[in-house]
Point group: C2
Chain length 399, copies 2
């Protein structure tokens, strides 16, 4: 294993998207990840496209590069297994709130006694110091409370809606990943681990406010929050004769090239459009004209022309279009591999490139409890002890 | 400084959002950041809400905790300054594509000769190994080409639109932040730095495909891409008598509590709604009923009721609502500070909490070239040498 995190050992007790995406990224960079599941398994094992029960595409995508052990933390003997795992680990990820975490024996204070170098990362809906700490949190709800759903409604001049991707979960995953790596780096200096908490609400709100804070960045506030440019009705893909297109002519040169190619050289010298300032003053007329001209040719014609004219543009791709994109093929964005039971699978490689530590690929996602026995043996549990754990329901493995 | 990255030294030559947000987060965790600007300054200095020219709210938010030096890399003497800075740094961030980077002397190979421990992070629109490498990239365009704009259109049953936040930029920032920290951690083992490249297109596409890959996760594909649940028309905030509300009753208990509170106990035993399976079979009727019942009371009434009934919910907040949110106040989400020239300002604190390394706050954003002279003196340039740099236009400072 050659990735930047080769040798880092991670225990992940989380489920659904937020936590598993953190450890997917850690594993994609060659950390050794063990996924701990309750006997019922991660709920995503049976969500959406699935060939074999328990091995849904979504689950396999987020849980590649992980070995899997079943561990029921409420059953006798499980704490012993957990502690032996923690002794050999650098990072523990879970999504239990403080009270259940203490009850299940996974609180930082408990695990740090077993291994003072351990770094725990707890992902929660709402920070444990605030009054929403016990509210259940799902991606949609966090998009609502953080301001995202309202921003979309306003920008679309329509009712509030969600972003059609797990934005609260995945922004949380990326923030948590960075926090874990910062704590790992710090541990190289201090020799000590620590507890990290990453709340979804605070994370998505802080992400939105990077550019939307505006007026209230001042005290007293200079006006309402919201970044006007991102909310402008002219900020959208435009219609062509047969589809849509993203285009952003900006400089005098861009507009000159665009008007001339569109067969309207007289617009180059039109006093409404001949400088950045006058274009800003006549923005509505400008974009009305832009759309009128775009609608006269096909998307394909425009894509070729804009590339030649060196005017900033992009196609409006479907997700399926990505599969055939020539640039993505050239950079090795998609890769295929054989899963022992699920056949030929497709995955996405790391978008971040490391010159000296190009990440490899370890293996496909595990069946529920696939590595339970293997991992218990590594921890030096003998056959008798393993049988006792199986009998107690503390662990399980596929028949 | 007590944050996890105290002592880490960062040079940031980037502009606009993607790069500055990386170094904002590094600085928020107490890294020492020096922002290098050309004599014209970062373009965000004059975008949107602004009190003093050159000190826009958006700029100040993303560039807090950074000292600023003006350095024109095309001018005589600038390379010497850059190399002295690189010698004292751990990380260099820039957004030059390979050719301009080589021309300006900021390519990894050049900087690694000066400091073999340096980690460079280049943020680009499209990876340098693929055919789109020279295309200009902006957040909107990347949302278009990555599939985001089309997903939104389909989900809203409308034309393609953008997410009203710099999603391509900021997802890139978070991925780059993690990559930098992974390389810093790795350097503790190897003693060597390396070059990182983070492309916006590949990063946002990989982020979207976490759950939207579905069918094409298999080879041959089992069907089209797209995660059905996130695209469902029932996945949206619902209307109340006077506004909107996010609500996610799911279990039998949730629906029983909801129907009873809404004054329709007969629906609890309605065969269409009395189990998860039958609710899934009658999902349209269920959500029609849900909306009908929600519309009979105000948002305020529902918020109180749902909290009491322990049914997952969230308000649809505006961004301005966040300023008065009691939970955010309790967790210290917002903090105020005095900027030497811009008065009392508001910022957002780190959403990630570190038990042993709570980040502090360093200082407000710099005026253009505010620390040019201070930094040059630290690098042991004498008055004469500094004057030569000023005369050559290689550096500048406020009058």
């Amino acid at each position: 294993m050659s990735g930047p995190l080769a040798g880092v050992r991670v225990l992940d007790m989380s489920s659904v998207i937020l936590g598993p995406y953190i450890s997917q990224l850690l594993g994609d960079w060659d950390a050794e990840v063990i996924k701990i599941e309750p006997p019922t398994g991660d709920t995503t094992r049976n969500i959406a496209t699935t060939k074999t029960p328990g091995m849904a595409a979504l689950f396999m995508n987020m849980n590649r590069n992980k070995r899997g052990i079943v561990l029921d933390l409420t059953k006798p003997g499980s704490a012993d297994v957990l502690h032996k795992l923690v002794k050999k680990s650098d990072v523990v990820i879970h999504n239990y709130r403080p009270k259940p975490a203490a009850k299940l024996g996974v609180a930082y204070e408990t695990l740090a006694k077993v291994n003072p170098r351990i770094i725990t990362c707890t992902t929660v809906g709402y920070g444990s110091e605030g009054q929403y700490r016990d509210r259940p949190a799902y991606d949609d709800l966090i998009q609502g409370i953080s301001g995202m759903a309202d921003l979309i409604g306003r920008y679309h001049n329509a009712d509030p809606r969600y972003v059609p991707t797990a934005q609260a979960d995945k922004t949380g995953s990326l923030m948590a990943l960075s926090a874990i790596l910062a704590a790992l780096y710090k541990r190289e200096q201090t020799g000590e681990g620590q507890a990290i908490e990453v709340p979804m609400f605070e994370t998505l709100a802080s992400y939105i406010l990077v550019e939307h804070l505006t007026g209230p960045a001042y005290e007293p506030s200079l006006g309402p929050a919201g970044y006007v440019r991102q909310m402008a009705p002219t900020r959208r893909p435009f219609k062509t004769r047969d589809g849509f297109l993203c285009v952003m002519p900006y400089t005098d040169r861009h507009w000159k090239a665009f008007f001339e190619y569109a067969g309207h050289p007289e617009l180059v010298t039109d006093p409404r459009f001949n400088s950045v300032m006058s274009r800003t003053d006549h923005i509505e007329a400008l974009y009305t004209k832009l759309e009128e001209l775009l609608s006269q040719k096909s998307t394909g014609d425009w894509l070729n022309a804009l590339e030649t004219l060196d005017i900033p543009f992009a196609p409006v791709n479907t997700v399926d279009d990505l599969l055939n994109d020539p640039h993505l093929q050239e950079v090795g964005f998609f890769a295929e591999y054989d899963h022992p039971t699920e056949g030929r699978l497709r995955r996405v490689t790391s978008p971040a490139k490391f010159s000296k530590n190009p990440p490899g690929f370890q293996f496909g996602a595990p069946h529920l409890g696939e590595h339970s026995l293997e991992i218990l043996k590594e921890l030096e549990f003998n056959d008798e002890a393993i049988q006792a754990l199986l009998d107690a329901g503390a662990t399980a493995h596929p028949k």
